[in-house]
């Protein structure tokens, strides 16, 4: 049973980083990075400035040579079988730059001529997906940054990739543009059914859209964490309860062996307790029976930002 699920996992891995390092002048910019990207998954690549995010992405796409290790895309090595490996990847690295004197359509045709399987109508399809139909015959120099981002996504999808790599996709976009971008990413995973790797310094962005986050610092893997799946995995919950009387709440809490008092704030008449998820109703009924009076219960969830600061030591947020 367990083996079966393992095999299934192997099948569904789109990209494998196998101990990838980049060493420049004896200094490791990226140090033995190992992680997987599975099918249909949106992954965030997080890290402070200079952590090696862009270097990692450039090695995945063959723009920078790896000093050690290898990247396997759909079973093909980026090092030894580059054309096949990169054929499964679509990417935007930093700002999307096009030939400014050509129209959007001419730019896309450039990249279509470099794909292996010519598909008539594919350009129209991706242009419609990003909503650029009206701008196709305009020169790219007349495009706004938001439009260039969309054209960037369109070129990345031309070869029907299994993995889309977006390096700081919301950089320089206004709030409306960021929201638009997020909608595109959701639509792409639905319509095209592909995995997305996003590197970003906007933690809230990652939190809203990604299934998992890979955190790196100083070129080393710090942690891989699931986002949004925490409720199922954590059995212990932290609750902040606003009560009528802090004193009586504390007295009763001391009598319970299943709940632990973490802190209290008498000015706001709040207590923070930690207990097993299944014991919450018990606590609530005890409190109301004893006349403690519950005004508000909020779960003390750590946001990704707090986690991030914890993991990376809190300094130099990207």
């Amino acid at each position: 049973m367990k083996q079966g699920s393992n095999e299934h996992m192997q099948d569904s891995i789109v990209l494998q980083m196998n101990g990838v390092s980049k060493i420049i002048k004896g200094k490791s910019i990226v140090d033995k990075l190992t992680f997987d990207i599975r099918k249909g998954e949106i992954i965030g690549l997080l890290g402070p400035n200079g952590a090696g995010k862009t270097t990692t992405i450039r090695m995945m796409t063959g723009l920078i040579r790896m000093s050690e290790g290898d990247v396997i895309v759909q079973g093909h090595s980026v090092k030894s079988d580059f054309n096949k490996a990169i054929g499964h990847i679509g990417a935007i690295i930093e700002n999307p730059e096009f030939y400014p004197y050509m129209t959007g359509l001419d730019n896309l045709k450039q990249y279509q001529r470099m794909t292996d399987h010519f598909e008539a109508g594919r350009i129209e399809e991706v242009v419609e997906l990003v909503g650029l139909q009206e701008a196709m015959n305009k020169k790219v120099k007349a495009y706004s940054l938001g439009m260039r981002q969309r054209l960037g996504i369109a070129q990345a999808l031309l070869n029907r990739p299994k993995l889309l790599i977006l390096d700081e996709p919301t950089n320089g976009l206004d709030p409306a543009g960021i929201r638009e971008m997020r909608d595109y990413m959701r639509r792409i995973t639905e319509v095209e059914g592909i995995s997305i790797l996003i590197s970003s310094h906007l933690l809230a962005e990652i939190e809203q859209i990604c299934h998992r986050a890979i955190v790196i610092q100083n070129g080393k893997l710090v942690t891989v964490t699931a986002i949004g799946g925490e409720q199922e995995t954590t059995t212990e919950v932290k609750l902040t309860i606003r009560v009528g009387s802090v004193e009586s709440a504390i007295t009763h809490l001391e009598g319970m062996e299943y709940a632990e008092l973490l802190s209290m704030d008498s000015a706001r008449s709040e207590v923070t307790v930690s207990l097993h998820d299944s014991r919450v109703p018990e606590l609530v009924s005890t409190f109301s029976n004893k006349g403690v009076g519950i005004f508000r219960i909020t779960e003390n969830k750590q946001s990704l930002e707090e986690d991030f600061l914890k993991w990376t030591g809190g300094n130099r947020i990207a």
Binding site: R58, T61, L63, E94, E97, F98, Y99, P100, R113, M114
Partner: protein
């Protein structure tokens, strides 16, 4: 093969879609006509026919030099512009090897130099026909094409040099500057034995016409071998640097 043709189509579109694409050709045509007028007004009898006029003008002492300069300018940006525009990233993350991409660029450089040379030849010939007429003299189309060929050899060596410098410096300005400087000093001949192994004295193959030599002891075959060696070395350096370089 089809995929390589597509790469060539891409590269050709990248230079031909520019609004300034026709400027070099126009410059060449206007300059040829103007030069013909000036030569004719100074000494109307110096050339007996358009063929003689063309076979002199197409050498690297005349319009031939302009052809080389325009081909160098066209070549200088073909690699470095990709870096300065940032388009190199989208170009290299395709299922095409860096060697194939660079080879297609070099092929387009040669095609471009060829079109400039052909337009230059036609412009010079028309100018010659206008001012000196088509009849008279001993020279014919053969002499004209020989001159074009002599000049094209040095044009190819120079664009290959510019192509390599463009890859090494990734700067269009530096590439044009350095290659132009070389073009300017290549007429200097230092009469020393070692100098025949330097690129410059070998570039002017027309010097061997009538049994002469730039430096005593040099032969046409020697020069052709030297030019081939230099071209191969330029290409080897260019390709190996382009293949290995990290795009940061």
């Amino acid at each position: 093969m089809r995929s390589f043709n597509n790469l060539i189509v891409n590269e050709w579109l990248k230079i031909s879609k520019k609004r300034t694409f026709f400027v070099p050709y126009l410059v060449l045509i206007l300059l040829s006509l103007l030069l013909g007028y000036i030569v004719h007004s100074v000494s109307p009898d110096i050339f007996e026919s358009a063929y003689e006029y063309s076979s002199v003008m197409l050498l690297s002492q005349g319009i031939g030099q302009v052809i080389t300069i325009l081909a160098i300018i066209g070549t200088a940006g073909i690699v470095s512009k990709e870096y300065s525009q940032g388009t190199i990233k989208f170009l290299l993350i395709r299922a095409r090897s860096r060697t194939a991409i660079l080879a297609s660029k070099y092929a387009v450089v040669l095609i471009y130099a060829f079109t400039v040379a052909v337009v230059g030849m036609l412009a010079v010939f028309v100018s010659g026909a206008l001012w000196f007429g088509l009849s008279g003299g001993e020279d014919g189309i053969r002499e004209m094409l020989t001159s074009l060929m002599y000049n094209s050899v040095s044009t190819v060596v120079y664009v290959t040099l510019a192509f390599m410098i463009g890859i090494l410096t990734t700067s269009t300005g530096v590439t044009i500057g350095v290659t132009m400087f070389m073009l300017m000093i290549d007429k200097l001949i230092i009469s020393r034995e070692f100098y025949k192994y330097v690129l410059f004295p070998n570039l002017n193959l027309s010097a061997y016409e009538g049994g002469g030599a730039p430096i005593p002891g040099m032969t046409l075959t020697f020069s052709i071998v030297m030019l081939a060696l230099y071209t191969i070395v330029f290409l080897l350096i260019g390709f190996s640097v382009f293949r290995r370089r990290d795009v940061a």
